[in-house]
Amino acid sequence: MSVSEPGRPWPNAPLVFERSREGRRAGRPPRPDLPVPELPDGLGRTSPPRLPELSEPELVRHFTTLADRTFGVDTGFYPLGSCTMKHNPRVHERLAALPGFRDLHPHQEDAAAQGALELMWRLQEMLAEIAGLPAVTLQPAAGSQGELTGLMLMRAYFEDRGEERDTIITADTAHGTNPASVTMAGYKLELVETDARGNLDLDDLRGKVNERTAGLMLTNPSTLGLFDEGIEEVARIFHDAGALLYYDGANLNAVVGISRPGDMGFDIVHYNLHKTFSQPHGGGGPGGGPVAVRDRIAPFLPVPRVVREGDAFRLDHDHPKSIGRVRGFGGPFGVFVRSYAFMRAYGPALREMSEVAVLNANYVLARLKDVYDLPYDRLCMHEFVLSARTLKRQHGITALDVAKRLMDYGIHPPTIYFPLVVPEALMVEPTETEPKERLDEFVDAMRAIAREAAESPETLKSAPHGRPVRRLDEVRAAKQPVLRYDFGERERADATA
C-alpha cells in the first residue's frame, strides 16, 4: 500500500479553445462541385460559432490529457455506493461497434433489422426472468426515466380503474431520484421511517397507507445495503389497500437469481443496465432503465414494444392504453448489446455475480466495523454504510476528509453523505469484480486513515495531495457561476472598465 507523493507533476490541461489557433482545422468535409443555394432572409447564420480550431495531432493530445486526469474503474478500485462500479468487459465495445448494430438506422424496416429486434426480445426475456415479472419495456433511457415511467404506469392503471389515488410513499433512505420522479409524475410524496434494524417501520407505514395511496417506491436491499426483512408484510399492507409496489432496481446486484422483486411482491420494477448489467458509466452516462411489470399493468407500457411472432420479431405500436412514448425509438440499443452480452456470458451463473458481490461487501464491512461507526449491526448485502461520526467528534475529521485522503491511496472514494439518515455517511459498494487484494488494500487504507485522523489530522484536512488539483472552492463555483468559456471577454471587459 503506498500513498502518492505530494508534488507529483501533472501536465497543464489547457481548454480546447486555448489550444485553438485561428485558421487551423482537422476535418475537411467533402465538397461536391455544386452550387450552394441561398437561404431566405433572416434564416442564415450571421456570426459563426467559436468552435475550436486545431489540427488532429493537438486534438488527440487534448483528449488524451483529459483522459489522463480522469480516474475510472479501469484505473482502480471505485467503491461508489449505489452505483455498482463493476468491471466493464472489453468485448462489449467490440460487439456494440459491429456495423450491423452501429450503422443500423432505427427507421429501417423491421424485416431488415431482425438481428437487432431478436437481441432486444431475448434481453426482455432474461430481464423478465430475473425480475419475476412477465412484461418488459426497454425504452427508458436511464434509471430515473424508468422510475418516472413506472409512476406514469401507476397513474394510467388507476385512471383506467376509475380510482383516484394521489400519493406515493418512499423510504426516508430513498435516493433523491425517487421524490424527484414523484413530483414530475404529478404525485404527492409521503415518507416512511426506517427502524433501528434498517427495515421500514411497519407501524409508521400502516398509519400512512390508505385509499389515496397509489403505491410504494422502494429499493431492496435499501440504500443502507440491508434487505428489508419485513418485505412480505410491506407488500401485504399495500396490496390490501389496493395500492401497487414499485421496485427501484438500483441495488439489484445483490439479489439476482437469489430473490426476485416480483416474488417479493413488487408489481413494477426498473433495472439500471449501467449498474447491474455492466453498461459502462461513461463519465456520467449513457445508461438504460428498462421496466418490467405484472400482466395487468402491461397494457399501459410505452410503445413501441418488441414482440415475437413465430420466428420473426417486430416493433408493435398497437396498444391503445399505452402511456405513450418516453424516449425515441426502442431505447438505447447500444446499451442493450452490452447488457445482453454480459448476461449471456454468465448464463444462470448470474447468481454467482450477486453472491460474490455480497461476499465482497461483507468481508470489507467485517474488517472495518471496529474502526468506523456501524449504524446497523447486521450482515449487509452488496453494499454497506459506515459513519465517520466518532472521528468527527474526537478529531474533527469528517467523511469528506476521509474521502479526500483515500485519493492519495489511489482509490476512488465511496459515496459520502448519503443516505441522509446516517450522519457522516460512507457508503461502500465493492462489487463482485474486485479481487481480494483490492479489498484488502482498501481496508488497509481506511484503517490507516483512521489512524492518521488521530495522529496527523492536518494531512487529512489538506488532502488530496497527489491529484491534479487540491480541494476546490465550490462556494465560488455556486456564487459566481462560470458555466462556459468566455473567450477572453471577461479580460477585455476588465481592461476597458
Binding site: R24, P29, P32, P37, P40, G42, L43, P49, R50, L51, P52, E53, L59, L66, A67, R69, T70, G72, M85, L98, P99, R102, H105, P106, A112, A116, E125, A141, G143, Q145, G176, P179, A180, M184, E232, I258, P280, H281, G285, P286, R327, F329, P332, F333, G347, P348, E352, M353, L365, L379, P413, E432, S462, R467, L472, D473, A477, P481, V482, L483
Partner: protein, 445 residues
C-alpha cells in the same frame, strides 16, 4: 468461479468467510426471508465463453441491413453524417468509458473539463448563455424544456407544439404533459411549414411554444417570426435544432428563442438503431437556476489553480429531491464527448462546409429526382417528394435494388402516404443521388 470477470478462488472465499464469521455464503443471505427466496436456477440460456459469445452476437448483427449494406437516404431524426476517428479516441479511453459522474472533482478533472468544453460548444452553436451536460435524447429534452417553462410561468396550463416537430418529440412531450398539469395543443402545418399567426392564435395561456428548425418535413420554418409570435404571447419560445445545420442556419439565440434543444446524434454518434445518443439543452441566462441536469462550472482549487466542478447542484435530485428541476441523474456524457470531439474536429469552417454541402446536395436531389417536391418551402438536408404509388411500396421496390430511398411520412402524418422524405448528408455524393434518381425512375413507373 464460472466467469472470467470474477476473481474469487476457493482460498479467497474461505479466508473471507472466516473474517466475516460465517461458514458459508448462504449464511450471508439469511436476511432474505424464505418466502421470497428464488428456489431454482435462472431460466436463461447457458453461459458462453468469449469466442462463442462473439460468434453468437455477430450472427445477430449480420441479420441487419445497415447503412453500409445498402445505399440509404433514411433520416427523419437520425442521420448518417461522418463520424471522425478522433471520436473513437474519446470513446475508447478506459478512463472516460468507465468513470462515473464526477462527484469527486479531484478524481475527475478530465471529465469535468470536457463537459465544460461541451457546454461551451453547445452555447456557441445555439447562441445561448448556459447549457447542461446533456439529456437523454432529442425527444426527452423537449419534455425537460417544457418542465422549465412550466416552472417559469406557473399558472399557465398549455404547451403549444408545431405539428412539424418530430413526431417522436411530440409523443414524448404528450406522455410527460399530464404529470406537469399541461394540456398539449398542436398547430397544423401549412404547406410543410408553420404559420406564425396560427401559433399566436393558440398561444395565449401556454407556458411554451415548441417548433423545429429545420422541421421534420425537411423544410425551413420562418423561425424568427415563430419565436416572436411565441414571445408576444408571453410564452417561452423553445426551438428544436439540428446541430449540423448551425454552421449555416442562424443560432436560435440570435432570433429570440429562450431555450434551444435538439438531438445531438448527427454530431458525432453512429445511428446504432436509435441510441444511445445525447440530447442537448441550452437557455438564456435567466433560466440558469432552473436548468435540469448536471452543469459544470469553473473555479479554483486551494492553490489557486483553475479547476472544474459540478455546480448549482442544489437544482438536482440528490439535494433538492421532490423540488428538483428534473429527476435526471445518469445522462449521456460519453456520447456528448464524441459530439465535442467531432465539432472540434470540424471547427467553424468545417461545420459551415458540412452545412453548405447539405444545402447543395439537397438542392441537387430536388432537381435530379424525377418526383414532385411535396412542399414549396426551402430545405436544409431533407427533401419530401410526392410518389405516384404509396411511398411504402416505393421503399419496398427500391430496397430490392439495394437502395433505401427514405422515410414514409405517412407513418406519422395524415394524407402523406404518398410522401417520401429523402435525407442527404455530406456522405452522399452526386453519384449516390444519380443512382437514387435512376432507381426511383424505375420503381415509380
Amino acid at each position: 468461479m464460472s466467469s472470467g470477470y470474477l476473481s474469487l478462488t476457493d482460498a479467497d472465499r474461505d479466508e473471507m468467510l472466516a473474517a466475516i464469521g460465517v461458514s458459508s455464503v448462504d449464511e450471508l443471505f439469511e436476511q432474505v426471508p424464505p418466502g421470497v427466496r428464488f428456489g431454482r436456477d435462472l431460466d436463461v440460456p447457458p453461459a458462453l465463453g468469449e469466442a462463442e459469445l462473439v460468434r453468437h452476437v455477430e450472427e445477430l448483427a449480420a441479420r441487419n441491413v445497415h447503412t453500409g449494406a445498402e445505399l440509404s437516404f433514411l433520416g427523419a431524426g437520425i442521420y448518417d453524417h461522418y463520424v471522425p476517428s478522433v471520436a473513437d479516441v474519446v470513446l475508447a479511453r478506459g478512463e472516460f468509458l468507465t468513470a462515473y459522474t464526477p462527484y469527486q472533482p479531484e478524481m475527475s478533472q478530465g471529465v469535468l473539463q470536457a463537459i465544460f468544453e461541451y457546454q461551451t460548444v453547445i452555447c456557441e452553436l445555439t447562441g445561448m448563455d448556459v447549457s447542461n451536460a446533456s439529456g437523454y435524447d432529442g425527444a426527452t429534452v423537449a419534455a425537460d424544456a417544457v418542465f422549465v417553462a412550466k416552472h417559469a410561468l406557473p399558472g399557465r396550463t398549455k404547451v403549444v407544439l408545431a405539428e412539424t416537430v418530430n413526431p417522436q418529440v411530440r409523443q414524448v412531450v404528450k406522455t410527460y404533459a399530464p404529470g406537469f398539469g399541461l394540456e398539449v395543443v398542436e398547430v397544423p402545418h401549412a404547406n410543410g411549414a408553420t404559420d406564425p399567426d396560427a401559433v399566436a392564435a393558440v398561444a395565449g395561456d401556454a407556458a411554451a411554444v415548441l417548433f423545429q428548425q429545420p422541421n421534420f418535413l425537411g423544410a425551413l420554418e420562418p423561425a424568427p417570426e415563430l419565436a416572436e409570435a411565441a414571445r408576444e404571447a408571453g410564452t417561452v419560445p423553445i426551438v428544436h435544432v439540428d446541430p449540423m445545420s448551425l454552421g449555416v442556419l442562424e443560432a436560435p439565440g440570435a432570433y429570440g428563442a429562450a431555450i434551444a434543444i435538439g438531438e445531438g446524434q448527427a454530431a458525432g454518434n453512429w445511428p446504432s438503431y436509435g441510441g444511445p445518443h445525447y440530447g442537448f439543452l441550452a437557455a438564456r441566462s435567466e433560466f440558469t437556476r432552473r436548468m435540469p441536469g448536471r452543469i459544470v462550472g469553473e473555479t479554483v482549487d486551494a492553490d489557486g489553480r483553475r479547476a472544474f466542478v459540478l455546480t448549482l447542484q442544489t437544482r438536482e435530485q440528490h439535494i433538492r429531491r421532490e423540488k428538483a428541476t428534473s429527476n435526471i441523474t445518469t445522462n449521456q456524457t460519453l456520447l456528448a464527448f464524441a459530439g465535442l470531439a467531432t465539432l472540434s474536429w470540424l471547427g467553424p469552417q468545417g461545420l459551415r462546409e458540412v452545412g453548405e454541402t447539405c444545402l447543395a446536395i439537397a438542392q441537387y436531389a430536388r432537381e435530379r429526382i424525377p418526383l414532385e417536391p411535396a412542399f414549396a418551402a426551402p430545405a436544409f438536408k431533407e427533401v419530401a417528394f410526392r410518389t405516384p404509388l404509396p411511398a411504402r411500396e416505393v421503399v419496398r421496390r427500391a430496397r430490392e435494388q439495394g437502395v433505401h430511398p427514405g422515410y414514409v411520412l405517412g407513418r406519422d402524418y395524415e394524407g402523406m402516404d404518398d410522401v417520401l422524405l429523402v435525407a442527404l448528408t455530406e456522405k452522399r455524393t452526386v453519384e449516390d443521388v444519380d443512382r437514387l434518381a435512376d432507381v426511383l425512375e424505375e420503381v415509380c413507373r
